[in-house]
Symmetry: C2
Subunit: 220 residues, 2 copies
Amino acid sequence: MPLIRYPQFCALARAAELIGERWTLLIIRELLLGPKRFSDLRSRLPGISSSVLAERLTRLDEADLVQRAHLEPPAASSVYELTGDGRALEPVIFALIRWGARYLFPARPGEQLEPEWIRLVLAAYARKGRTPAHSFEIRMPAGEREVVVHVAGGAKGTAVAQGGSPADATLVADAEAVLGLMAGILRPADALRQGQIRAQGDLEALSVFPHLFDVTEDRR
Amino acid sequence: MPLIRYPQFCALARAAELIGERWTLLIIRELLLGPKRFSDLRSRLPGISSSVLAERLTRLDEADLVQRAHLEPPAASSVYELTGDGRALEPVIFALIRWGARYLFPARPGEQLEPEWIRLVLAAYARKGRTPAHSFEIRMPAGEREVVVHVAGGAKGTAVAQGGSPADATLVADAEAVLGLMAGILRPADALRQGQIRAQGDLEALSVFPHLFDVTEDRR
């Protein structure tokens, strides 16, 4: 049962009942990136209390947007994952990212930036329609790990996927540099020369990278 | 200053700070339909208190999403309207409408349904890319008034606009019937025969009406 009910026969009001509470959109963001344990979710949402997170997950479960799954040993843990209706929120999240980006700067002191989020950002801005047929493996350091994203242009638009696959070029860069390259405000040649990114493979292809994205204002 | 701050360098979190409070999305919906007085907004949002509405409008004003405008006499009243950044929320609202529609039925007892909302719904589902070049004037009774929407197919997709312009056919129908026609679950010929809609002009063109919309699931 949602926390609030709007007495309106309106699809927007129904959506606002289900995902309009504080933190809920950020929980959806984390689960769009993949199934997560309760403790993983908490570490991605500093400031949320255990009780609020548990309450939100219960409501999302009741609304059939999130479900629990149990991983096989050796993980042997319980995770939360999106259902089909939950994953169908992707266009909503992408539209919110595109709109909210105008408020991203300036960064505030101490803000968290998870490299994994960049995968959603790249997907939100992926150009539709034919894009140059070049592919890129992007490796972003994330603590002791690495977040790897595969970006490929093609006839049906730019595809963004998790993990490394063979690519024309491999980029090693931090999240900010990848955002700058995507937005066209950091030129690949400058970034290489200044050491903001490292690259292997077809370095010529790098100049194509910004063309795989459409950072213009949504037309409507 | 938003009511909540998420300490995250994330466009989605920024958006959630600005429009993630209860009622705010519904206020944006009303203002996407046009400037409104405070009292107009209240009547469209039963259940909201004056103080909550005033508080939300103040925050939206501070965030430069909403601004006040003063109408010339004889209206001589003060209205709220969206700024450019506020209007830029349209793709977000459309994505939410498309997602939330799966939860629309069943209607709950006593729910409000404003015919003016149908304009946003038609726009949210308007098909992109070439659509049949037929135009329709839709007249929906709304109390003592009438809401008039113009829908036109064309090379650049279906356009949905406020007000009546010359059209191939004029439909008089209530909001539910228009939704049914749009979704393809009410056939125009059946609706005419059963008296759910009345029509003038090119009745042959009516069969085209559902093809002006795309009610399939968002692909991503």
